[in-house]
């Protein structure tokens, strides 16, 4: 199993963050996705993703972000809403996926990306993200 010690979040931070309210960071994520992703979502895929409760868990940060897609963009959801799809990975691996430096199936085979819930929705999210061409100049390089 591949380990990368150059981009490690201190475990203590995750313990603290996981006890904080998760709605503000979910709102930040929704805002970022609105700017980056929403204008580029192809219509059939956008329709299929509408109103689906999603959860993004950034394991090393202790973040569990609930959000959904509406006609007007991404919206944070209250943490108690049951997700139809949960994606879990570390900060480094999520960034590498967004930068297209890592393949989602590779991370899945290596147990670094976990997916639970509606598999069809998961595949749609994965394939839609991979098909969209986004430049992410301001994201920190994970390696």
């Amino acid at each position: 199993m591949m380990k990368d010690d150059r981009f490690v979040i201190p475990p203590a931070l995750a313990r603290i963050v996981s006890r904080l309210p998760q709605t503000p960071p979910a709102a930040v994520l929704a805002f970022a996705l609105d700017r980056l992703l929403f204008p580029r979502l192809p219509l059939p895929e956008l329709d299929a993703l509408l109103e689906q409760p999603l959860r993004i868990e950034v394991s090393d940060l202790g973040l569990r972000l609930a959000l959904t897609l509406t006609r007007r963009g991404f919206r944070p959801l209250p943490a108690h809403v049951a997700p139809r799809l949960t994606l879990r990975a570390t900060t480094r691996d999520f960034l590498a996926l967004l930068r297209r430096e890592e393949d989602a199936d590779t991370l899945f085979f290596q147990r670094r990306l976990a997916l639970s819930g509606d598999t069809e929705l998961g595949l749609l999210v994965k394939n839609t993200l991979d098909a969209i061409e986004i430049e992410l100049p301001f994201l920190p390089r994970p390696r």
Partner: protein
């Protein structure tokens, strides 16, 4: 011994599940890409994957601008109610100007030959042709110019087919394995009622569940437990052929293990045999995968052509390929069998 005057340069054929993957393949040295429409007419029918008419037209333009050919896989078997849809897809691909159609169904082969006589046809791996007489028949009757061999032949069997085949032969070099003679799988039809050969997916996502349980990560296909992975144990695709089953009191990979085919070490022999093209599996993967795998195979094929006697796979090539492999390991599959 290899006779350099007769060496055939094998074409590197790479997967493109979306425009980003196509770009990655072109940038990293693919000679050709293969792709499909966004529906059940091809064997990678997954949500959010593949091309519509507009993106296919753009893909062809981009590939051709870089000297890369575009093959369209239309390789599932239409059922009675789907006939008009499948033939319309053939006509659409012909109108858009793909360099070849990859077909399996006899009716579609006949349709393509009659309606589009100028169009190049490849026999899909889904056609399950494993001997030169079958290829001769497809060639005489439907004018196929190339055939993709199923991943169930030994290297010596591949050599025999190539020697006597009237058409060029393409083989799989890397990626997911199929042990069911490709077009003849009934495993997931047993579990889900949908066969990969007709619906275009080995395990349709709507039937797949991943559940974290106290015993480990469980993969289920329409309720059937396929495998249970311990924490940190490498996982595979949720297909029945790569599941662990209790057989005769033992629980093990009774059919095939989750592993990827990797024939890098056979490259000089494949070139010597005279295969026309080497295919990389993985239209369901991503641009990152296509970039990583195409880069390695481009370097390896060029190295094997330049100095076949000195060729040995670089450790960094093998490491790069192992990283993206299913189950994080590789196999020579049937190629290494002693069958003749």
């Amino acid at each position: 011994m290899m006779n350099s005057s007769r060496v055939r340069r094998p074409e590197l054929v790479c997967p493109a599940g979306n425009p980003a993957m196509l770009k990655a393949a072109v940038e990293h040295g693919a000679d050709a890409v293969y792709l499909g429409f966004k529906d059940a007419t091809n064997a990678r029918n997954f949500n959010g994957l593949n091309f519509d008419e507009r993106s296919l037209a753009q893909a062809i333009e981009l590939a051709h601008a870089h000297g890369c050919r575009v093959f369209l896989a239309l390789n599932t078997y239409p059922q009675a109610e789907g006939w008009a849809h499948w033939t319309a897809a053939v006509d659409r691909a012909a109108a858009l100007g793909v360099d070849a159609l990859i077909l399996a169904d006899l009716g579609l082969l006949a349709h393509a030959r009659e309606r589009h006589p100028e169009l190049r046809i490849h026999l899909s791996v889904q056609g399950s042709a494993t001997n030169h007489e079958a290829l001769a028949f497809y060639h005489e009757r439907y004018g196929i110019e190339r055939a993709v061999l199923p991943r169930v032949l030994s290297l010596e069997q591949v050599a025999q087919v190539v020697r006597q085949s009237p058409v060029a032969v393409e083989v799989f070099g890397f990626g997911g394995l199929c042990v069911m003679v490709e077009g003849r799988c009934a495993l997931s039809a047993y579990a889900t009622g949908q066969s990969p050969n007709c619906h275009g997916a080995c395990s349709p996502a709507k039937f797949v569940r991943w559940d974290e349980t106290p015993q480990g990560l469980e993969a289920r296909l329409n309720g059937f437990l396929i495998d249970r992975y311990a924490p940190e144990e490498p996982a595979g695709y949720p297909t029945l052929c790569k599941g662990r089953f209790a057989v005769g009191g033992h629980t093990y990979y009774a059919i095939e293990e989750p592993t990827s085919l990797n024939t890098l070490e056979l490259l000089p022999r494949l070139i010597e045999i005279g295969v026309a093209a080497i295919k990389i599996e993985g239209r369901q993967r991503s641009a990152a995968y296509v970039a990583q795998v195409t880069r390695v195979w481009r370097e390896a094929i060029d190295a094997a052509l330049a100095a076949p006697q000195d060729f040995s796979p670089h450790p960094q090539w093998l490491a790069a390929l192992d990283r993206v492999s299913e189950g994080a390991s590789h196999t020579l599959g049937a190629y290494s069998r002693p069958w003749k």
